[in-house]
């Protein structure tokens, strides 16, 4: 049985974080070259790539600050929820202002970000509010956040137009 203990292996988690950020930048370049006509996909890839870069920079900056000088230590998981929400809101607002229809991959990326947000919220409750030292959900969380990030990359790189709603509809009809 594989035991996932990424959440307490900081070096490994930082390495994965950097790989994810790099793959988002690479994704944006691939989308820019391969799918020139897909405005929404290009915009989504750009917003997600910049979000991952900026959130990593912001996280690094906040880590350098002494505890309690700007924000409390309780903000650790909440900041990831904030970054995800701001990414969705910003991407949506740009689409709305430029009157571009959302690509199915971008909508699915939003949904995956929502899953990320919920898992962060649960971990915040367990680790910060309840102070539980060890819980099975911590492993689930570390797998979820990384898997969703790679799934978003996959959606953008392969221009996945399949809607989740239609998949459910087919499943229900069959």
């Amino acid at each position: 049985m594989i035991d996932f203990i990424l959440y307490n292996d900081l070096a490994l988690s930082f390495a994965i974080e950097n790989v994810i950020t790099f793959s988002f930048v690479l994704t944006f370049l691939i989308v820019l070259i391969r799918y020139k006509s897909e405005k929404s996909l290009k915009l989504g890839a750009l917003v997600y790539a910049s979000s991952y870069i900026l959130s990593n920079i912001a996280y690094g900056t906040l880590e350098l600050l002494p505890n309690g000088s700007l924000i409390g230590p309780d903000f650790f998981y909440l900041q990831w929820i904030m970054y995800e929400s701001l990414t969705i809101i910003l991407c949506f607002m740009i689409h709305l202002s430029m009157k571009i229809q959302h690509h199915e991959a971008v909508i699915n990326a939003y949904r995956l970000s929502c899953i990320n947000m919920f898992s962060c919220l649960i971990v915040h409750y367990l680790a910060i509010v309840k102070s539980v030292p060890d819980h099975w959900f911590y492993s689930v969380y570390s797998i979820t956040v990384n898997t969703t990030a790679f799934l978003i990359v996959f959606l953008f790189v392969f221009n996945i137009k399949r809607s989740v709603d239609s998949c459910f509809l087919k499943f229900r009809l069959s």
């Binding site: 309780d74 909440l78 929820i81 929400s85 809101i89 909508i107």
Partner: protein, 93 residues
């Protein structure tokens, strides 16, 4: 801690609402009156304006002209979009 949690909760709720209602929001954005329907509406409106008092007619006609110009612009774009690509190039030249 006093403002962080409510702030994060509010923006995450906004993000969730966007994600769950995105299809509906886009549908409302896309909903535009088709051109033939708009032409009929404009004709009916013009008939009403012609039956109006002369003092009221000037302002109403100006307003109608603006709407008619938008209709003409939409019709022009629609015609260009449906044209054959070769015809488009010739028209530009």
């Amino acid at each position: 801690m006093f403002f962080e949690v409510p702030f994060v909760l509010i923006i995450s709720i906004v993000a969730c609402v966007i994600v769950f209602k995105i299809k509906k929001i886009e549908y409302i954005e896309d909903k535009v009156i088709p051109l033939p329907e708009l032409a009929e509406m404009l004709l009916l409106e013009l008939e009403k304006i012609n039956a109006m008092d002369i003092s009221l007619r000037i302002d109403a006609k100006q307003h109608w002209d603006d709407k008619f110009n938008i209709y003409l612009e939409r019709k022009r774009l629609d015609t260009t979009k449906n044209q054959h690509p070769n015809l488009k190039i010739r028209a530009v030249k």
